[in-house]
Symmetry: C2
């Protein structure tokens, strides 16, 4: 990370709000797709054509929306808006599913008189059932009427499914002496390893950003945020992160080399990281967030594999429900991970307290460790003492509520 | 599988009983290692030196008992008995742990006046805490007094931890005109992917079996049974399968080429498979057993990976708690597995009912599929239509009770 980035980060203020950047409008509505009667559709619209970037699930089974959006991000490169529905995932729906996704985009575009392929589509919900187009098309008309500059909060609620609260952050930064804004709105809990309810995130900025540079910056930001969290090791068919930059701030196009590029990157990464942490905190049934940091690994892949093995072990995650510092289960999960582990070298800390040294209980008492394990958020740091590579994965406890939600 | 094996299997009768083969004694007792006051120690003893075979956890973090036993199976090759304790796993206990395991074996051997390295040791329980040798050593003395030919059932109960019922099967088969017996006694739920409570299994036979041939036959039997089940994808530090053959039946040594070798293999595989199925049925909190069969995979590794991805997905496993046939979650788990999957080719059946064809809903109605998914035991068969390889993994549902047990 360059010094410029660090400087940028220090000066930025992030607010938990869905304040939209200049030139954007948004809304969330009840289209009747959910029995609960809660908001189930949302829309984002940009007054001007916006450069678009995106990252998508790597699941081999991909929703129709993912196929559509990935194609448009790569080949069209410009977007005016995004329409989102919950209730049905539009995955495992074949050609009809793709036709429905195209029809959703076209119907939204028609409301604004813009080209059909300038609209993107996201769905989340049950796999393998057809979209309720009879409800979605009227919903789109309603959304097109409802979108407004102050509608960010409404949209943030419109995309919620099992989320218990909206997830949104905003920050401003200076480019060419003008104030630009980045706002992120997300739902769900995970990207590489998300809960089935799907992870969706939308990043909007009024800065002008060169499209390819934005795609790279978005990918890097996603790797440091959504790709570092896990709720249940399952990866959805629908995970999508989309970024729109409409240039309404009037700056020269941001790209590496621009003096204010680091400030943009810091704003983007700050927003995505905060959204990701909110996802883990709000993981299905979760009561605690635990950062699992593995250091001293022989290779970067080993660090990653060891951290994920611990962060995804259901025996470790269930142990976090209580306050007993069950480091034995963590040793076990390290041992069966693909990473090279020498148990006689393993060191482990709960917060700053030493729990294990040379693979054996050491340092703090169980009572002291229990106080750390009782916190709503804490870190477990594991040093494998086999090399110099490190990785952190953010996870949560697995409560009976998780089973209740998913059964 | 040879025709001989098939013939052997057809004629064998397996009984859910812990009837010991000739020349074996066993017992289970309360040594005070558990707060619950339930039996917590067991012992198996052979009147004669028995050939020994074993398979052990592949976890890099191994209990002291696993290190000790693996060494003795490889280098000593003969055993007189096995002593088992629960409460403490004797894993992550370093040199002191190894010393304790050796002391347990030596103390047991002393009671019978046999060489110290002719006893094997298994532990299960909490990782990282020292063995309560103050209770275990007197327990060993009590066990040495208690072992008797009719003690199989008592031993089967003595090794239980979170098991709700004892797991034991016995069968007889003819060798050289003599009746031989194989009896298996097990606890826990899994081998390659067991619940933390550890999987232990003991196979006893009065047949005379050539040691190396027995080791190979045991490994093959374990691969077809304990290695095909999963409860929670976690692999314990203590998993152990031990087989003792004491030759009390007076037959010529069994090995490939012996006319009755297929009958022995069928007896062994029949017992281990039934024990493995009992483990899944009794998985922590489990109410249902589901066989996940993947066929039409491009490679054997793909078949295995796809079946495990489905069988280990907590979203799939929680969906089995109810009766809704949530095949979308199965498609999702197939998609993120390392196996090659083309969603447009996937076919899926619940029992015999077609649920998915070409990746799309097809065939039976949700109501019909729900009736299958409501059964205590059912099979899901997935055809990837990409090749000719198949694999089956036996799994169970994940209920709120699983979290309760492990939190």
């Amino acid at each position: 990370m360059s010094k410029g980035t660090m400087r940028g980060k220090r000066t930025l203020k992030f607010t938990a709000a869905a304040t939209l950047p200049a030139g954007f409008r948004a809304a969330g509505i009840v289209a009747g797709l959910k029995k609960s009667g809660r908001p189930d559709m949302a829309m984002f619209f940009s007054e001007r054509p916006a450069a678009v970037a995106g990252t998508f699930t790597t699941n081999q089974v991909k929703a129709a929306t993912v196929r559509l959006d990935a194609g448009r991000v790569a080949s069209v490169g410009i977007a005016r808006g995004i329409v989102v529905n919950s209730g049905q995932a539009n995955a495992c729906t074949g050609k009809n599913g793709l036709r429905d996704a195209q029809a959703m985009a076209a119907h939204a575009a028609r409301q604004f008189g813009v080209p059909a392929d300038h609209f993107l589509v996201c769905s989340t919900g049950r796999i393998g059932v057809p979209l309720r187009m009879d409800l979605i098309l009227p919903g789109i008309e309603k959304l097109a009427q409802a979108v407004r500059p102050a509608g960010g909060e409404s949209a943030a609620r419109g995309i919620m499914t099992t989320d218990t609260r909206p997830k949104r952050f905003t920050t401003t930064f200076a480019v060419d002496g003008r104030t630009c804004r980045v706002t992120g709105i997300a739902k769900g809990a995970g990207m590489i390893q998300p809960c089935m309810a799907t992870m969706l995130a939308f990043l909007l900025t009024d800065a002008k950003v060169a499209r390819r540079a934005m795609q790279k910056a978005l990918k890097a930001a996603v790797d440091k945020s959504f790709n570092r969290i896990t709720v249940d090791a399952d990866q959805s068919t629908n995970d999508t992160v989309l970024m729109l930059a409409n240039g309404c701030a009037g700056n020269n196009a941001l790209q590496p080399g621009h003096r204010d590029w680091p400030a943009f990157v810091a704003a983007l990464e700050g927003v995505t990281f905060r959204l990701a942490m909110e996802m883990v905190r709000d993981g299905e049934g979760a009561q605690k967030m635990v950062a699992v940091r593995v250091q001293g690994a022989r290779t970067p892949a080993d660090a990653e594999a060891a951290a994920r093995s611990v962060a995804n072990s259901f025996l470790v995650k269930t142990s976090w429900v209580g306050t007993y510092p069950n480091w034995g289960r963590i040793m076990d999960a390290l041992g069966y991970s693909p990473a090279q582990v020498d148990e006689t070298k393993v060191e482990m800390r709960y917060g700053n307290l030493l729990a294990v040294k040379n693979g054996l209980k050491a340092g703090a008492s169980i009572e002291q460790l229990s106080k750390v394990a009782a916190r709503k958020e804490f870190a477990i740091t594991i040093d494998l003492h086999l090399g110099r590579h490190a990785a952190t994965v953010y996870s949560c406890d697995c409560t009976e509520e998780y089973v209740k939600i998913n059964k």
